[in-house]
């Protein structure tokens, strides 16, 4: 009997999180344009989605910007993490505090301040400004993912490699990089997620030539949201669900294997 309240609680919580998503997906099969009237089942919106040049180009922009921004952020951030790791204590504290600044800064303030900067520098708002601002808000996350891995690393390994005849570069590549790879990848994935989903900062730093998906969705929510977008979110949902499931099943399998070995 002890289980009943907790079960109700789980159902409530997951219901709360998933009912809106269920609504989105259900409406993507609704033949009616209106989101409150059900007139029949259809796949039309999925077909129309792929023929919609605006949504498709926004999707392409989103992915391209996310890939470029998170790659640059990962490279810069990893280098920065290594640099910060090797700094003296005071310098490290100061820089880490500054690194937290963009994370705790309200997004809207980051957005308007970047907009003021780009206008001040007379850079036309567009692709470039979006990439620059996405790199800016992704960088701290990369650092925060990589730095703990550096701390966990046994520094003696690096020294041992040097003793065994590696030069600095080799020791770095063969010892340090493998140790922090998981951190780098996590940082990259986080950047990718944040970049794809970002609306507020993009809203202030995008121009007419660079509409990303969240911006396009925003301008649609101010008029009539096309069920095509429901179809798109259903597709994204299925893809993400699949990726996460594959990831988890693998991990669970791997951890079981490890246990058996022990």
């Amino acid at each position: 009997m002890k289980k009943l309240p907790s079960r109700v609680y789980y159902i409530f919580l997951f219901g709360f999180l998933y009912i809106p998503i269920f609504v989105l997906i259900a409406n993507s099969f609704n033949a009616s344009k209106s989101r409150n009237v059900w007139t029949g089942f259809t796949f039309d919106w999925y077909v129309k989605l792929f023929n919609d040049a605006d949504i498709m180009s926004a999707l392409a922009n989103t992915i391209i910007i996310a890939l470029i921004a998170s790659t640059v952020a990962t490279v810069l951030g990893t280098a920065a993490a290594i640099g910060i790791f090797n700094m003296k204590n005071t310098a490290r504290t100061v820089i880490m505090n500054a690194t937290y600044l963009p994370i705790i800064n309200p997004e809207i303030v980051t957005g308007v301040s970047l907009m003021l900067l780009f206008v001040f520098l007379k850079i036309n708002l567009g692709f470039l400004t979006l990439i620059l601002s996405h790199i800016t808000f992704c960088l701290p996350y990369v650092i925060l993912c990589v730095l703990p891995k550096l701390r966990q690393m046994d520094i003696h390994l690096y020294e041992a490699a040097m003793d065994l005849g590696c030069n600095r570069r080799q020791a770095f590549r063969k010892v340090v990089i493998p140790e922090i790879t998981t951190g780098i990848i996590t940082g990259f994935l986080m950047s990718l997620t944040y970049s794809i989903d970002d609306f507020v900062i993009s809203y202030f730093t995008s121009g007419p030539t660079s509409q990303t998906l969240p911006i396009t969705i925003f301008s649609m929510t101010r008029r009539k949201v096309s069920p095509k977008l429901n179809a798109l979110s259903a597709i994204i949902f299925v893809i993400v669900l699949a990726v996460l499931l594959v990831m988890n099943v693998r991990e669970i399998k791997a951890s079981k294997k490890n246990k058996n070995r022990r």
Binding site: L17, A79, G83, L101
Partner: protein, 307 residues
């Protein structure tokens, strides 16, 4: 790894000073200045005089330089004017606080229960918490509109039982709901990651030493999970207090939040970047103060519980 590799942080430092520090300085400059128009000989102009000059210049076939120059003048006006919008800031703080508290009460038991599960089940539960975050938040909020409207799904459903209809959309409650919905995962994730580190044995020891369930919670689990609570509160409160779109979609624009006010000054109906910067500055200072308060929860175990 040696002292020399610290130089690899320099590109980052340069980047951050250009894209974080300089923009914040610009906000500061805009907040304390106003734009004043001058003609080419240095006389101060009113807006209408400037318009006349431009009209003359256009009529003359654009002879010579553009006749109006703009300069920034130092002023406290903007900051003082922010005071007029106190109620908006207070409204945002109240709504965001309510949302944060509800998130905490909603998320805390969940994070605890999940952290006591088998590792494989933990992973799956957390995955299902994170999954909605991958969907675009505007679309998810929009889906709530579909649910809450007068002719929405919830009212239709209740109608089957002869209840309602209820006014749910365009209320403050709907805005809070939107905040909770969007930011709940940000509460659960830090709580969970702290709680997995609490050893089962610690809790068992508390029971062995005669603690009842309430005591075990207040004396052991709660203090140990304080860092998670602190970062959870920060991660929910900051975006909630500065959100500018949830109130538009779910609140009908009748109850503006501070984020909407900033947006209004920059890209909205009343263009005034100086006032917008001043509001941003106040918001930033306020958020930093709030964070410094919640940070006290983090490493201090006894006093922190009181807050």
């Amino acid at each position: 790894m040696n002292r020399r590799s610290r130089y690899s942080a320099f590109p980052y430092l340069l980047w951050m000073s250009v894209f974080i520090i300089v923009p914040l300085i610009l906000i500061l400059v805009f907040a304390f200045t106003t734009t004043v128009k001058f003609d080419n000989t240095g006389n101060r102009l009113t807006n209408d005089q400037a318009a006349e000059l431009i009209a003359d210049w256009e009529a003359s076939g654009k002879a010579g330089d553009f006749p109006v120059k703009e300069k920034f003048y130092f002023t406290f006006d903007n900051i003082i004017q922010v005071g007029n919008y106190s109620s908006t800031l207070i409204n945002s703080v109240i709504l965001a606080s309510i949302a944060t508290v509800i998130c905490l009460f909603l998320g805390y038991p969940f994070a605890y229960m999940v952290s006591r599960m088998r590792v494989s089940r933990q992973k799956i539960m957390i995955m299902f918490i994170m999954l909605p975050m991958w969907m675009n938040f505007l679309l998810r909020t929009y889906a709530w509109m579909t649910l809450l409207e007068k002719n929405g799904w919830i009212n239709r459903f209740l109608e089957l039982f002869g209840i309602g209809p209820f006014e749910m959309i365009n209320t403050q409650g709907a805005v809070v709901l939107g905040m909770i919905y969007n930011f709940l995962p940000y509460m659960i994730l830090p709580l969970y990651s702290v709680m997995t580190k609490i050893d089962d044995h610690t809790i068992e020891a508390a029971y062995d030493l005669g603690a009842n369930r309430v005591k075990a919670l207040t004396k052991v689990i709660l203090p140990l999970s304080m860092p998670g609570i602190a970062s959870g509160i920060t991660m929910v409160f900051v975006p909630a207090v500065s959100t500018f779109i949830i109130s538009k979609l779910l609140g009908g624009g009748t109850n503006m939040l501070i984020g909407d006010l900033i947006e209004l000054q920059f890209l909205g109906n009343t263009y005034n970047p100086h006032l917008g910067s001043a509001i941003s500055l106040v918001l930033l200072v306020f958020v930093l103060l709030c964070i410094s308060v919640t940070n006290q929860l983090d490493s201090d175990k006894t006093e922190g519980v009181l807050l």
